[in-house]
Symmetry: C2
Subunit: 166 residues, 2 copies
Amino acid sequence: MAEGSNSSDGLLFLTDEQLRKGIEAMFFAYRGFTSDPDRILEGLDYGRAHHRAVHFIHRSPGTTVGNLLSILGVTKQSLNRVLRTLFEDGMVEARVGKTDKRERHLFLTDKGAALERSLSDAQRARMRSAYRAAGPQAVQGFRTVLEAMMDPDLRRQYQGLKENGL
Amino acid sequence: MAEGSNSSDGLLFLTDEQLRKGIEAMFFAYRGFTSDPDRILEGLDYGRAHHRAVHFIHRSPGTTVGNLLSILGVTKQSLNRVLRTLFEDGMVEARVGKTDKRERHLFLTDKGAALERSLSDAQRARMRSAYRAAGPQAVQGFRTVLEAMMDPDLRRQYQGLKENGL
DNA sequence: TTGGAATGTCAACAAGGCTGACGTAAGTTG
DNA sequence: CAACTTACGTCAGCCTTGTTGACATTCCAA
């Protein structure tokens, strides 16, 4: 308590209560954010982990396993379990690297791209509707705050697409 | 592709690329959002589930198990496992309802309140810093978009505090 | 008095994290 | 060339946190 009361440091309203509201907003909004893809994934024997993998392979075709690991922040064992099922189901294919043959470059197949589309269509629809309801200025603020909330490493991943294929 | 191009429906910039950025912003920001409490919880034999329970009991002292179930959206078995450990560790206590003796009203003990404080201090610190960095207008937009992204039921929980103790 | 609601509990299972250990192919460097 | 390191795969086992199903208890309300 006794934190930023009001308009103290020129930025105002940082009361604990306001911050608590922000925290709960993240909690409840994230639930909504994931609910549409979750509905699609259930019954397909896929989970959020598959969604994440498919999303980032779509975003950065040809990305390597190592890149994906650093973006997703999981262990290779965990990611591998997911990738294996995606390979088996013909959603993703891996091509051996040209310059470095140890690397596997990951690509969505047509089937995988179709899955990605159905997942992101659902998620985009919600995002679009929220954006429309809130208006352009709010969207700008939304992005600004989220960006400030990220860990620096993740923020670089978010902005980035740096370092070769990623 | 070929979604809302620009300034078509009076709200502009709803390109798929913009929406994808929004989606990834949620993903990366949520990671940051949970990382500080997660660090505290690990080693204490507690996880996010415990954090959520403690948070909402703190927010609404005297809330019932049923209320908590509807907020958290998990099964009673799952919640019960978490509550049991919190009881055993003397973090939470349950008092039998006065009017309805089937209900258990949940309260944080002093020890539980201390845990809650350490968790929310960490989370609020990040939220505060993000708010400061982004500025008041951005914060307003942030909250507006998140609210629009929630499912209607959850939005009511978020705004609410309605129905007696909750 | 009886049905249903609120709660607790036991058992079993699955997803998806984790660690540790080991193997292999392929670069890299002395 | 030999030795080290990197990128990746895999096996085995463990944990948390979600799930379903079944069953008991308590107690309000019709």
